[in-house]
């Protein structure tokens, strides 16, 4: 009995100890800051980290269970206060850069965000030179962090434009890093189809991160950037070629496919000519919209200025406007713009003119198209003929560099005639083609002359050799006659 009383008292005492200990293991940071109703504490109540069991001390350090404030925030206990500069991102990366730790929280998030951030344009040093320009908290906030899928997150698709604009729409701030960078991206974005839909609450259309990336944002001049000219078509195609993703918007998804085949796409994607237009060159980037019917020639005219000017003053301008036909697109298409050839001109089945101009309904235009094609064909034929003759003369070793140089003028006339077509004026077109025909005829004459000269040289050589040989033989016979008496002896 005595033993039983002893064991019972032990159980009671130890239970009390355990109970009292459990009572003291309350997170004193949360407890106190909640009592103080600090904004950080309020925000932290909904923080995803709190939901996952993390607490203030996990980032700020210190002893979360100490009731005494000095003990709780003792530096010896690892308290660091408010993390500053790169300390912030490093603190986040302690968990977010550790795949094992993240597994414990059943997270599927990538663990290379901090590494990507360091490599990104935002990972460069800020004005102080002591820390990176952007830390995790710059975009994600500090105490009220919620999942990116949560509409309350500053990095939720609908909120991203405003989050980025905090810095990027601030001219005073942006000037200190890149004075040439515009600060009206958000303003333009809101005028774009993407921006309008985003504003209406559709999270699917592209926002800043869709094109620029998130943690790994690179300068647009960096070839690795998703918005570097060579990469833009693929970046846009990421959504626009995804039929399932785009289904609800009812627009085609073959733009990238067509663009890749176009003269612009080949130049950019195959020849890596970064001056060739990408999607944003015609649609705009932050303010991306399909160009309207009335502005297509202006958009194309930013590069093809002469063609646009000629078209604007041509009789087609009025006709197209009346029929609400998109100017350049009607003949050249939009995404699949192929290299124009002479076949586009004229009245044959594959000529674009014949789509509107028929012999019966519009004979004037029909005849003009026919005659312009005849002129262009003549120039192509004459240039090719002249080129062939120049090559022949060159192969025979004749000096025809002057003719070769002139041949460039004939080719130049052909290129000019392709532009002159856009005036849709037969007389003006002839004015461009005729000098080319005259030059081609001149070159042809020179090349023919060179080939004739080649044969003349051979004939001349034959005659000269014959004369010299006759002279040599005669001289030989004369010497023989002279020496017929034998050698002289002294």
């Amino acid at each position: 009995m005595k033993h039983f009383a002893y064991i019972l008292s032990l159980v009671i005492i130890s239970s009390g100890l355990v109970f009292s200990q459990a009572q003291t293991r309350v997170d004193q940071c949360v407890s106190c800051h909640n009592d103080l109703e600090t904004p950080e504490a309020k925000l932290f109540q909904h923080d995803i980290h709190r939901m996952k069991g993390l607490s203030c001390a996990d980032c700020h350090g210190g002893n979360r269970y100490a009731e005494d404030m000095d003990q709780a925030m003792d530096k010896k206990a690892g308290y660091i206060g408010v993390p500053k500069g790169d300390q912030i991102s490093s603190m986040c990366a302690k968990c977010h850069g550790d795949a094992e730790k993240m597994k414990q929280y059943h997270s599927s998030l990538p663990t290379n965000q901090f590494e990507n951030l360091k490599e990104s344009v935002h990972g460069r040093l800020d004005l102080t030179g002591n820390a990176r320009i952007a830390q995790c908290s710059t975009c994600h906030n500090a105490h009220g962090i919620v999942s990116v899928k949560n509409p309350a997150s500053p990095v939720y698709p609908l909120n991203i434009p405003a989050t980025c604009a905090k810095c990027h729409a601030n001219p005073t701030y942006m000037r200190t890093y890149d004075p040439s960078l515009p600060v009206d991206q958000l303003e333009k974005y809101r005028t774009s189809i993407h921006g309008i839909r985003n504003k209406k609450g559709d999270p699917k259309p592209a926002e800043c991160a869709s094109c620029h990336g998130s943690h790994d944002i690179k300068s647009v001049h960096d070839a690795k950037s998703s918005v570097y000219p060579l990469n833009i078509p693929a970046t846009c195609a990421h959504c626009h070629s995804d039929a399932a993703y785009m289904k609800q918007y009812g627009i085609p998804t073959d733009q990238f496919e067509k663009y890749s085949l176009s003269v612009h796409g080949v130049a950019l994607l195959k020849k890596h000519d970064i001056s060739a237009p990408a999607c944003n060159s015609c649609h705009g980037n932050h303010g991306a919209v399909p160009p309207g019917v009335e502005s297509i020639s202006k958009v194309c005219g930013t590069c093809h200025a002469l063609n646009a000017d000629l078209f604007s003053s041509s009789p087609h301008k009025k006709a197209f406007d009346e029929r609400k036909l998109p100017e350049c697109e009607t003949c050249h298409s939009n995404h699949e713009i192929l290299t124009p050839t002479e076949k586009m001109l004229g009245t044959t089945a594959d000529a674009v003119c014949s789509r509107c101009h028929t012999e019966k309904e519009n004979p004037k235009g029909f005849i003009a198209a026919q005659q312009m094609r005849t002129l262009m064909d003549s120039l192509i034929h004459e240039e090719a003929k002249a080129k062939m003759l120049v090559n022949e003369a060159e192969q025979r070793g004749m000096e025809v560099s002057d003719a070769e140089y002139k041949l460039r003028d004939a080719h130049q006339a052909l290129l000019q005639s392709r532009t002159a077509v856009h005036a849709f004026n037969e007389e003006k077109f002839a004015e461009t083609v005729k000098p080319g025909l005259a030059t081609a005829a001149l070159v042809e004459g020179e090349a023919k002359g060179a080939v004739e000269e080649y044969y003349f040289r051979r004939m001349g050589l034959g005659v000269a050799t014959l004369i010299i040989t006759i002279l040599a033989v005669s001289l030989f016979l004369y010497i023989r006659r002279l020496e017929k008496n034998g050698k002289h002896k002294v």
């Binding site: 051979r458 001349g460 001289l475 002279l482 020496e483 002896k489 002294v490």
Partner: protein
Amino acid sequence: MKTSLKKIYTWINSRVELDDLVQFMGKKYVPINRHSVWYYFGGVSLFLFIIQVVTGILLLMYYKGSDSLAFESIQFIMSKVQFGWLIRSIHSWAANLFILAIFVHMFSVFFTKAYRAPREMTWLTGMVMLLLAFGFGFSGYLLPWNELAFFATRVGTDIAGILPVIGKPMLTFLRAGEDVTGATLSRFFGIHVAILPGIFIVFLSIHLLLVQRQGMSEPLDGHHDTERKVMPFFPNFLLRDLLLWLIVLNVLAILAVFFPWELGKKADAFASAPAGIKPEWYFLFMYQTLKYLPAHILSMDGEVLGVLLFGAAGALWTLVPFWDKKSSRGERNRFINYLGLFVVLFIIVLTIIGWLA
């Protein structure tokens, strides 16, 4: 006709006493022996030099010696000037045949020991003319101002520049500056059409005067003949010379028509040097030898040592009449034959390797 000519002769003779000269020429004989064929190569060299002078003067009428116009002026000569293509091609081909003929002439003189006393001065003037011919070739090569010439001149002058002490000043003098530029072209043009021809004519005159004065040398083994066979220089030898000149002219015409000298691309100092850049064939054996030398030989730069050795060998070769005492005494000197044979084989083999490389 004959009377008119005689009248003219009499008129001149009464003033400058031509009779003495005619008498001298009438008594001039050329020995006939198994090496007589080599006598003609001096005449062939002279004929090719005359062609160079004549075609060079004709080219001068259209050629413009500046970096902005040189190439274009040659293009103009080749395409617009009547027979300009022929004149230029003949000038280029004759330049190469001229060097070849001089080489043959020099080696024939060397092997027959015709340099021996009393013809040391003839040999020395001939060697000077060989050097001048190299100078003609090197300076003339740049004048079309094409890509190959530009870079070959850069390489060639670089080699001259590596010589100790005189290298740097010589390089600057040749290039008229630090690099091959339009100033180099103007300098080479001046050297090619004025300085070298002027000096060459002086040495040629001395050379010909000495040949006329001393007559043709006879090989050492010919002395055993009981009686010497000869032919009169005028007109027999001269007519034979003319016959050979006609054959050479024919060869030249065929080469010029069937293998017209190409002009290539205009020189561009900012372009990268074309692959396989080589000097003219007559410099190829030296160029190829320098390529084979290691970077350092006995703590000396390999190339520098190579250039100095070529210089020393050239000097020894030039001074052969003074150290080959045996031949001067009329004794056989087999060492000279072996040395000559080695040099000929060395030049031929290295030139072929250089050409194929």
